[in-house]
Amino acid sequence: MKKILVLIFLVSIFETTFGQESYFNCDEVSVYLNKKSVPFNVAKLSKQEIEKRIMSFIQSKKYILKPFYSNESVISFRDFTTICETKTCGSNLIAKNIFNVHYEKGLANVSADCQIYSSFFGGELVINNNDDVVSKNDVPFGLYEFSIPEQYAKEYPESIYTFNKKGKTKIKNPEIQKIILDFYNQYIIDMKSYLEK
């Protein structure tokens, strides 16, 4: 019995230390929330209190409120920021993410619309109020390619996966995958710490 208790204790310690839950997943096409939306533990909060906390969170992080996508029970906001620079990822990776927090009394959950751009040729990307992105001086840039044909591996050093002519996919840059997932998971960790405090 004592041994079983010790085992359970060790497993729980291991899970807490190494088993950090990943809210996002990153496949050959996109990065997305595993369960479409993430719920927050706000059972004791009124609708007004939740709204206040969300607005305060947006302000503290300097995210952009999106009134067009918001309504009485949804608050939308946008973040446009660098995920990773060329020296680490082979290209500048920039995220444009729109988060929608659905809320009512005692309930709140967030969904996300994620887009990553890659600025391989060094152009600085800018965004307008309508969430459209360009590069200064129209330096070439593109949507981030999560997977590319293996013969283009050198031209797309930032891609996570390669695939061959038979369509078999291989992971080329697990470290970039980790950087992207860590970056996205941090949003949820931050939101949880703010809303559930």
Partner: protein, 145 residues
């Protein structure tokens, strides 16, 4: 023997440099293809950006610059939608009816099938400006239908 060795060496060097040149050319082509693809993307984004950058401006400023809108509607939540449309339509090409030549008994002597190379198009570019209660543009949507 010496001549043979020299000959083999020359062949080897030539082949190696050919392969290297091919490889460099291929790499240049692939790099150029990424450049061209992303240049085209950047240019397309710029065109969209120049229109959607009206977001944040007042609708009256837009109307002064763009003139009359095609239609206007209002959502239940009070958002007004000003739509500008550019319609394009036309047709072209030729129709060759072909022919059949028969004798007095109805036997076909010669014939040529008709060919229809005509075409027509009809599409509308639209620009929708979503305006809030303060008469500010809060969103722009563009497309073709």
């Amino acid at each position: 023997m010496k001549k043979i060795i020299i000959f083999i060496s020359i062949c080897f060097i030539t082949q190696t440099s050919t392969l290297l040149a091919q490889s460099l050319a291929s790499n240049r082509t692939k790099a150029l293809s990424r450049y061209n693809k992303e240049k085209s993307f950047a240019d397309t984004q710029r065109k969209l950006y120049s229109i959607t950058s009206w977001t944040g401006e007042s609708i009256s400023t837009l109307l002064k610059n763009w003139g009359n809108f095609t239609k206007k509607s209002e959502w239940q939540n009070g958002i007004q939608v000003y739509t500008f449309e550019n319609k394009y339509s036309g047709s072209g090409g030729t129709y060759d009816p072909g022919y059949v030549v028969t004798d007095q008994f109805g036997n076909v002597l010669a014939q040529k099938a008709g060919k229809d190379n005509t075409y027509s198009y009809n599409f509308t570019d639209y620009f929708e400006f979503y305006v809030d209660k303060n008469q500010n543009i809060i969103h722009v949507k563009t497309g073709t239908r």
